[in-house]
């Protein structure tokens, strides 16, 4: 068995939020009884962990804990517009509006409490379910603070709206400002190629991505790992096939997906270059995570066995055929040289 090893790399860039159009989102927040927080926004979880991210943001802005936050989401008749779940936009668009709404609610509460304590509102601090005035011994729980505000006729609520400064593209030369935030990434792949079967195994991936600011680093890793494995599927095995318009890959017996046995060890390297426009400095990771993976793997295959796969997927049959073609060419060159 001849197993050859190689490494390859590729870089990428990506735009955050909707493309070449004005993106927008909004949220409502209420600091609720018991010192809890209620957040309403029109779109949320598709599995990436945005609910947790929003709870972390709300908790830090208001001064409670993430488990004290309830996100009432995803209902066009009950929550304000937040547009869609896609375009690597949720942490950027919704994260920022939740911070804005929570900040406004907190300010409303802080003003009431500052008046009660007869201190400057700028001295008010909140964290982990407590509210206090810096440099004084005034301190109470957020639960008591909400009770106090309500007894004075104030419900601490806030709202946030965020839109992007972007334009469409010129129909002739494409000029325009499609996004206001961009991210960059780079991945290195290490592969093993079996020259008898043509099978490629990706053993390791190193992925460095700028995410602006990581709200939940483990969640960012989860996006990078999942993105890389989806791209690995397209790079090496997945292939939706049609014959005269009828699919010949109608189920998972024919449409082959990566399993736990196919996945490389993945090392994520989070780079933070904060977005200067949004309040939080966050950007995104969902889609860019999978962009450099395939060229990094294909370049690694070249490094290992000297064949360029330019037509996906790099199935064992295709890789083997390319290796055989290369060997034949090498023999021919050798024979010509000998003559």
């Amino acid at each position: 068995m001849a197993r050859k090893h190689g490494r390859g790399m590729a870089a990428c860039w990506y735009g955050i939020a909707r493309t070449a159009t004005v993106d927008r989102a909004s949220a409502f927040a209420e600091i609720d009884d018991g010192g809890t927080v209620k957040v309403l926004t029109g779109v949320t979880e598709i599995g990436e962990g945005i609910l947790t991210v929003l709870a972390q943001i709300a908790a830090e802005e208001v001064g409670v804990r993430p488990q004290d936050v309830t996100i009432g989401d995803n209902d066009t008749a009950r929550s304000p517009e937040a547009a869609h779940a896609g375009a690597t936009r949720q942490t950027y668009m919704i994260g920022n509006v939740v911070a804005m709404a929570c900040s406004e609610a907190r300010q409303r509460l802080a003003e009431v409490i500052a008046k009660q304590w007869d201190v400057d509102v700028d001295l008010i601090e909140t964290a982990n379910g407590e509210i206090w005035a810096r440099g004084t011994n005034h301190r109470m729980t957020m639960s008591d603070a909400v009770h106090c505000a309500k007894s004075k006729g104030v419900v601490p609520v806030g709202s946030g709206s965020f839109g992007t400064d972007t334009t469409g593209l010129d129909p002739v030369d494409g000029s325009g400002r499609p996004w206001q935030a961009y991210v960059y990434g780079c991945q290195v792949a290490e592969v093993e190629v079996d020259t008898i079967t043509g099978e490629v195994q990706v053993l390791g991936m190193w992925a460095a991505h700028d995410v602006g600011r990581a709200v939940n680093p483990r969640g960012v890793e989860g996006q990078i790992e999942g993105g890389i494995v989806q791209a690995l599927g397209q790079g090496l095995m997945e292939d939706y096939q049609l014959q005269n318009g009828h699919t010949t890959t109608p189920g998972f017996a024919k449409y082959i997906l990566p399993t736990s046995l196919d996945v490389p060890r993945i090392t994520s390297i989070i780079v933070e270059d904060p977005d200067p426009i949004g309040r939080l400095g966050v950007k995104g990771i969902g889609e860019p995570a999978m962009v450099p993976t395939i060229p990094a793997i294909m370049n690694a295959i070249y490094d290992a066995v000297g064949v360029r796969i330019t037509s996906l997927p790099a199935s064992p049959e295709k890789v083997l055929e390319a290796i055989k073609r290369k060997e034949a060419e090498t023999r021919q060159h050798a024979m010509q040289a000998a003559e």
Binding site: K4, M9, Y14, G15, G42, V43, E45, I46, G49, L51, T52, E60, R65, D75, T76, H84, A85, G86, L169, D173, G174, S175, Y182, Y184, G185, C186, E190, L203, G204, H209, D210, N216, P217, G219, G226, G227, I228, V229, Q230, A231, D239, Y240, G245, G251, F252, A253, T259, I266, V271, D273, P276, E287, V291, P295, M298, N299, A304, R308, T310, L312
Partner: protein, 628 residues
């Protein structure tokens, strides 16, 4: 066939029920016992989302006829958390961030539980092998495997139970902290209800009749026999659409159900609702559709051919969308270049393969609000479109997003919600539709298959002088997100590099193939694959390290993009440095130097896979790396 009597022990309780002989154990658990923790992902034993224990053995319950449950002891995911306490393994999944969309997770937790029961000391490679029958599309498996290792170590006393607990953030700073996912307990326990797990009183089941032809004129549709069937509560076709019948993310070129023509195999033609899904399926066979097959387009060359059949009247050249980008003078750029490389790349159609097939539930509320609950990625836009389709004011349409069992762009299209709404309006009863895996694969969007010709001109020092990128994509039968995909492919295709002369064209064409649509990374994956591979070739020809050729060309702070946008901070150089350092990259010219490089076989690798060779306990070993 006569009913079966099933007596079994299910999650520790004796159960005595009658069951239909055609039922599978999965149906019996979900429909009759309301144990919806086991999910249906494929119905063919391929994905593992329906895993349960039968007499202690891990089984895919979609492959077990209900009759086989007679006299057995069955454990489902609901049995693992006793009282309200999650099992150690479930807590480890929570701690490690092992759940994302969560749809595969109950099955994954069952498989992991089986692995730990079989070998409480299993090493990482054995754990992987024991989870090999369960597919996850979100996580890349790494955190799932980490979770099983964490649970193993806690159970064996190598780690304290506190290793599973949340970290305190005493300073109240939660942004930047690895807070455990708040939705994980509902996912690891199987408690979370996805659309297919939801029921309503008086609910009907919808089934869809789909086109067997890639392109055909509909001569007639006769639904009378189906409507006359006992148990059928409603049949709908395009004739039931009261408003403007069209949806799509950019162009509204797709009717809720085929109107006059079908344009791909799997397109919805009519739908039936019944209290019994079996009756609904039988009724589909009674709908008589007369088709007149038309010449069809199966690839981009055919779509561009002179006198090609026209699929949509508004697009006589079969072009869904063309996006151009122009900078400088491309011919001058190539003339000035020291090296010109031209290569053709192709990428295939890809299925999103989210583990949750499409499902939804619709009803008309007492105030006449048409309400659709579904795992839609874009409830805002769906509301706008449905309001026009059913000719109702926008506040008479309500969309609720149910937990999404994986989307990746595939659930942005309003491919079935319109049928649910129309049937709820027609029958005035709640209606639910659950796709089979085969239906999901045949009828929903794919990643655009593409052909890209990339020509790159460079100076001898590695600077890119000119780049010409021409991508043509098979957009399939309807527009969906093609326009946006072409735009993103064009804007990002040449990469984050300074290029004085640029000519980019991306083009999507209509064909009679399964429609292409939104898919995570949206066209940028196809074009940057071409650019990044060509850069590797250029580095070899010019004698440069692949990182170096990118550094030479990298956009820096204040750069102007290909669309003439001025950037502020550009992190590309930082990111390149981080990847080179993190991977311990040995600089060199990419001349297929795998045999001689010295940076391989280090940390951050898995052992190469040799099936079955790795069943050994953790004490026995550090896994043997086969890397030379």
């Amino acid at each position: 066939m006569s009913e079966l009597r099933i007596e079994a022990t299910i999650n520790g309780r004796k159960v005595k029920r009658t069951a239909q002989p055609h039922q599978r154990l999965l149906d019996f658990l979900r429909d009759d016992l309301h144990l919806t923790g086991a999910k249906e992902g494929c119905g063919a034993g391929e994905c593992g989302t329906c895993s349960v224990f039968v007499d202690g053995v891990l089984k895919k319950s979609c492959l077990v006829p209900v009759g086989k449950a007679q006299g057995t002891n069955i454990e489902t995911v609901e049995s693992l958390a006793m009282g309200n306490d999650l099992s150690v393994l479930q807590q480890a999944f929570h701690k490690a961030g092992a759940s994302q969309c969560g749809y595969c997770i109950p099955g994954m937790v069952m498989a992991a539980t089986a692995a730990m029961r079989a070998n409480p000391f299993a090493g990482r490679e054995e754990i992987k092998e024991r989870l090999g029958g369960n597919i996850c599309r979100c996580t890349g498996y790494q955190k799932i495997i980490d979770a099983v290792e964490l649970a193993r170590d806690v159970q064996n006393g190598r780690l304290p139970i506190s290793a599973l607990a949340e970290l305190d953030q005493e300073d109240g700073k939660f942004i930047g902290a690895n807070i455990r996912r708040l939705d994980a307990p509902s996912k690891v326990s199987g408690a979370l209800k996805y659309a297919a797990d939801m029921t309503m009183p008086n609910m009907l089941h919808l089934q869809v009749l789909r086109s067997p032809h890639p392109h055909a004129r509909i001569v007639s549709i006769d639904t009378s026999q189906a409507e006359a069937m006992d148990g059928v509560e409603g049949v709908i076709t395009c004739a039931d659409v009261p408003g403007e019948d069209g949806f799509g993310v950019f162009v509204h070129d797709q009717p809720i159900m085929a109107r006059d023509k079908v344009r791909y195999v799997g397109e919805a033609v009519a739908a039936v609702a019944s209290e019994d899904p079996v009756i609904a399926r039988r009724a589909l066979e009674k709908i008589k559709v007369v088709y007149e097959p038309l010449p069809a387009l199966f690839d981009i060359d055919a779509a561009m051919a002179k006198d090609a059949p026209v699929l949509h009247d508004y697009a006589p050249d079969n072009v869904t969308k063309h996006i151009p980008i122009r900078v400088g003078d491309i011919e001058q750029g190539f003339a000035e270049s020291d090296l010109v490389i031209e290569e053709t790349y192709s990428t295939q159609a890809i299925e999103h393969a989210y583990l949750e097939p499409e499902a939804g539930l619709a009803y008309v509320d007492p105030d006449g609000v048409v309400t659709v609950i579904s795992p839609s990625q874009n409830i805002t836009h769906h509301r706008h479109m449905l309001s026009k389709i059913i000719a109702q004011p926008i506040n008479k349409v309500r969309f609720i997003m149910s937990p999404v069992g994986g989307g990746f762009g595939g659930k942005e299209d309003m491919i079935y919600q319109g049928m649910l709404a129309l049937m709820a309006m027609k029958t005035r009863r709640p209606v639910r539709l659950v796709f089979t895996r085969e239906e999901s694969i045949a009828s929903t969007a794919k990643r655009h298959p593409s052909r890209t010709v990339l020509k790159m001109g460079l100076m001898s020092d590695g600077r890119i002088r000119a780049l010409q990128l021409n991508m043509i994509c098979d957009g399939g039968a309807y527009g969906l997100s093609s326009e946006g995909v072409m735009r993103k492919a064009a804007i990002l295709g040449a990469g984050p590099y300074n290029i004085p002369h640029l000519r980019v064209d991306t083009l999507a064409l209509y064909t009679n193939n399964t429609p292409s649509g939104a898919f995570r990374s949206f066209g940028a994956l196809q074009t940057q694959f071409a650019t990044e591979t060509t850069l590797d070739m250029a580095a070899e020809r010019l004698g440069l390290d692949p990182f170096e050729i990118r550094r030479v060309n990298a956009m820096r702070n204040g750069a102007t993009t290909h669309t003439k946008q001025k950037l502020k901070s550009v992190s590309l150089l930082r990111v390149l440095e981080a990847a080179a350092k993190g991977s311990n990259w040995e600089a060199g010219i990419p001349t297929s130097r795998g045999d001689t490089r010295t940076d391989m076989g280090g940390e951050g690798l898995r052992p190469a896979c040799t099936l079955g060779a790795r069943f050994e306990t953790i004490e026995a070993t550090e896994p043997q790396s086969e890397v030379a």
